[in-house]
Amino acid sequence: MNEMTAPVQKLTIKDFTSDQEVRWCPGCGDYAILKCMQRTLPELGATRENTVFVSGIGCSSRFPYYMDTYGFHTIHGRAPAVATGVKLANPELDVWMITGDGDGLSIGGNHMMHVLRRDVDINILLFNNKIYGLTKGQYSPTSDPGTRAPSTPQGSIDSPMNPISFALGSGARFAARTVDTALKHMPGVFTRAHGFKGASFVEILQNCIVYNDATWADVTNKAVAKDKQLLLEHGEKMIFGADANKGIRFNAKTFALEVVTVGEDGITEDDILTHDETNLTLARMLAELGAEPSEPMAMGVLYADPAETTYAEAVHAQVNEFKGKRTLKDMIYSGQTWEVS
């Protein structure tokens, strides 16, 4: 009999789609992200057996159930810690972490900070819809002030946080942003995040059609997108706008980025900043861009500056340096012993 090995076939979107019925609300932004992931993984050469999705609690955290890979739907806010454990046990695995603004920045803020600081080699996707969906619409740590929700009938009072600024402040070495509807842009961001050695943090502007519909509309609507999104490319000028004539300039007097128009007030392309994704100071400024109505939000890879080694690798390097040099028996039988006969 001939032993035949099956030819290695390229996996397809189908291979990464589980048999579970997807249970998000019709029209939820999560669907597009899921499809994009299922479509991108085969392109990355990912295998089902080496891919693990870890999530916390919330709408977005149901994601692992729909991927035909390994998946762990954990508890609220703790996905970064569980994912760290997975990598400590097996640094070879390709680990994706799915979280939301409530899960990742509120109840799990501490773990998020530390997984980024440690630079554990996982890809973190934070679905930011500025609301708690699964618990029926309370305001979240990224909600706009004045958000009227069941727990804030007069409008929320506290200031929102900026996920990318938080990530960079925590020591993230990779930070990127994309939009749930940007079906062309998102795969590129996933590919970069996947290829990055270390913790990659991706904020995805996601629409919750039920509890916070159109919260990103002033950035993502087709009609305004070109004027409200700055698509970053490393080494390229920061030019944007429907007429591709707006740009970002560094104003040394205000020590801030500002929007200028090429061809007006003597501004030329030379005045426009060129994106350097290894520049942390620049990344911090870009992260905050969009706070003013006149500013675009920065999309794409804001920052990517890999370290020499990642956390789990370094941990195992320490272990491997000593492993096998002494047995448990050596250890127990060493020191002061005496014989009773």
Binding site: S18, Q20, T47, R48, E49, N50, T51, V52, F53, V54, P64, Y65, D68, T69, Y70, G71, F72, H73, T74, I75, R78, P80, A81, V82, A83, T84, G85, V86, K87, L88, A89, N90, L93, N110, H111, M113, H114, V315, H316, Q318, V319, E321, F322, K323, G324, K325, R326, T327, L328, K329, D330, M331, I332, Y333, Q336, T337, W338, E339, V340, S341
Partner: protein
């Protein structure tokens, strides 16, 4: 004058001084010298919660007690026979416990007006009628030490630090113990500081010589305590934290799994994190997490990926881990949770011992969330119990709670080195790639143990998704079905209850299998209960001792066994937790004997409770 040497069966020595006086070192070095002579022993490091409490205060007193003998020693001793008090505060806090007629050694050099004031003495108690009950050796140890180390040129402050070695030298002489192991240890410890090493050795020798030559009070004798006739073998001293860490490492090897420990610093559990962090040679991975929750979650993540996750903490930290324990119960992943119990509630008494987390262990967590609970009884016992925790975790795919306590963690005792090659392996087999036409079901159960089928990432064909949402009994997929939840809840209980068939029957430690009274204990009360029952039986009382290691599920014969006695007495260092569980499980009239002073039971207290019960 040459002193005569008197043979003693056992003795209790307590070293007490200021936190900065090095009493823990003195005690542990006296312990190693004593252990090498083959005496049995038990130690009790009793230190304050503050790292450096103000010098000379009563709350800054640190003490180390050792009970050693030519017979089996099971407790640290109710009352010291010898008390070394390095300052007035140490005298004040410890004198009350010294046996009447006992020997008191004090450093008069530390009895300054200021120190007396700080300890709350109006005038020095030395030489007053308060001392009449004791034999007192009052020496200016400070001065003697300065004299002894003079030639090594240390500053006054550093020279005075050698006081503890001078004292140790004298106590070694008093009990005819060898100095050599301590000299070796000092030379090794201070290898880079030869002046300090030489000074400490000089102080040790001077203290010893002082005993030998000085005209101490004639009534003071030299003692000899021989070797304990015990099982032949190779011995060493071991603390609970050491034995537990080694047991975890052994458990990992027997299961054929890597250990990943997630832990967060907390008193008195940190030594386990420290010990395992120093065991990279055995491939052990340790992770000092950002908090208690991350520590257990990382351990769970590691188990999901095919290692054996372990987390170690104390009561307050265990409280934080409860939700994650529920996740491990629901996803049926192996995990070992170690609780080194301390006084509670809340921050409670971090450095004092208690066994008040039994309810937390058995009944903690939201929902019906059963898990096995086992307890250690002594430092050496930790090795075996840790291995058993690993075995149950992987065999039954469940988190296991291992209860130890602050006393066991820090105490030391002689331990016969185990034959590691004789330990029975319990090698884990992960689910393999399914064959043609087959599919992998993560919740397919072993018929006998009800354990689920452990498949791990990296293996093709066993891809699966799990989480804390209820799962279908048949497929493991999410299920909100009412009957299914009933079935899964019943199954989770049946799995844990079934462990009763896989553990030894409960044995009676001492006494008959029926009679007037049985004293039932668990954990570190083993020593005092054992001694109290022995004394009661010697006095002709019908008393037995049962000590429970498996607290959930109980051994399957325990209920019948307990019903064979007229009365059941349960001494515990809590407000009566095992008592309640026993009443609940077996509908018996278990009587509590409770103490939550942060200190181990005294034999006499248990003995009088036994007498009262038997005669009532």
């Amino acid at each position: 004058m040459a002193s005569e040497i008197q043979e003693l069966e056992s003795a209790v020595v307590r070293f007490a001084g200021d936190s900065g006086d090095g009493m823990q070192l003195t005690g542990s070095q006296f312990t190693s010298s004593t252990a090498l002579e083959g005496s049995d022993l038990a130690t009790f490091p009793d230190f304050p919660a503050e790292i450096r409490a103000p010098v000379g205060t009563t709350f800054g007193v640190s003490a180390f007690q050792i009970n050693f003998g030519a017979r089996a020693i099971k407790t640290v001793g109710d009352q010291p026979d010898v008390l070394v008090a390095m300052n007035p505060a140490a005298l004040k806090t410890n004198l009350g416990n010294l046996r009447s007629g006992g020997l008191l050694v004090v450093d008069t050099g530390a009895f300054t007006k200021r120190n007396l004031q700080k300890a709350g003495y109006e005038e020095s108690p030395l030489g007053t009628p308060m001392m009449d009950d004791y034999q007192v050796i009052d020496l200016d140890i400070s001065k003697q030490t300065l004299e002894a180390v003079k030639e090594h040129g240390l500053g006054n402050k550093e020279a005075l630090r050698c006081k503890n070695m001078w004292t140790l030298g004298m106590v070694l002489w008093m009990f005819s113990r060898k100095r050599e192991p301590i000299v070796d240890w000092l030379n090794k410890k201070f290898a880079k500081l030869p002046d300090i090493a030489a000074s400490n050795v000089a102080a040790l020798n001077a203290g010893h010589a002082f005993g030998e030559t000085a005209e101490l009070n004639v009534s003071i004798k030299r003692y000899q305590i021989g070797a304990n006739k015990t099982e032949p073998g190779l011995y060493r001293t071991v603390t609970g934290s050491q034995a537990l860490s080694w047991g975890i490492a052994a458990g990992g090897e027997l299961a054929g799994l890597n250990i990943v420990l997630g832990s967060y610093p907390i008193t008195p559990a940190s030594p386990i994190l420290h010990t395992l962090s120093g065991m990279k040679e055995m491939g052990i991975v340790t992770f000092q997490a950002e908090d208690e929750i991350a520590a257990i979650c990382a351990a769970i993540g590691a188990s999901f990926a095919g290692s054996l996750g372990v987390t170690s903490s104390s009561g307050p930290g265990i409280a934080l881990k409860m939700e994650a324990m529920g996740l491990a119960i629901s996803t049926e992943l192996p995990l070992v949770v170690i609780n080194s119990q301390r006084g509670g509630p809340s921050t409670g008494l971090p450095t004092k011992t208690e066994q008040s987390d039994l309810y937390q262990a058995i009944y903690g967590r939201n929902g019906d969330a059963p898990l096995p609970v086992i307890a250690t009884r002594s430092p050496g016992d930790c090795f075996e119990v840790a291995i058993e925790a690993c075995r149950l975790a992987v065999k039954y795919m469940t988190p296991v709670m291992l209860l130890t306590d602050g006393f066991i963690a820090n105490a030391a005792e002689p331990w016969m080195l185990p034959d590691l090659d004789a330990l029975k392996p319990f090698k884990v087999e992960f689910a393999e790639t399914p064959g043609e036409g087959e599919t992998y079901n993560p919740f397919k159960r072993d018929e006998k143990t009800l354990a689920r089928n452990w498949g791990i990432p990296g293996v093709p064909g066993t891809e699966h998704r799990i989480g804390g949402i209820e799962k279908s009994y048949d497929t493991g997929h999410i299920s909100y079905d009412a009957d299914n939840h009933q079935k899964m809840t019943d199954t989770r209980f049946a799995k844990i209850d079934g462990i009763a068939n896989d553990i030894p029957l409960q044995e009676v430690e001492q006494g008959e299998e029926n009679g007037t009274l049985v004293v039932v204990g668990w954990g570190s009360t083993f020593g005092p209960i054992s001694e109290a029952v022995k004394a009661a039986r010697a006095g002709g009382l019908s008393v037995s001792h049962i000590h429970i290691k498996y607290l959930n599920p109980f051994p399957r014969n325990l209920g019948d066994l307990l019903k064979g006695y007229d009365k059941v007495l349960v001494p515990e260092m809590n407000a009566g937790q095992l008592k309640t569980v026993l009443r609940d499980k077996f509908l018996i009239d278990a009587k509590p004997l409770n103490q939550v002073s942060g200190l181990p039971f005294k034999i006499v207290d248990i003995l009088s409770a036994i007498r009262a019960e038997v005669s009532a």
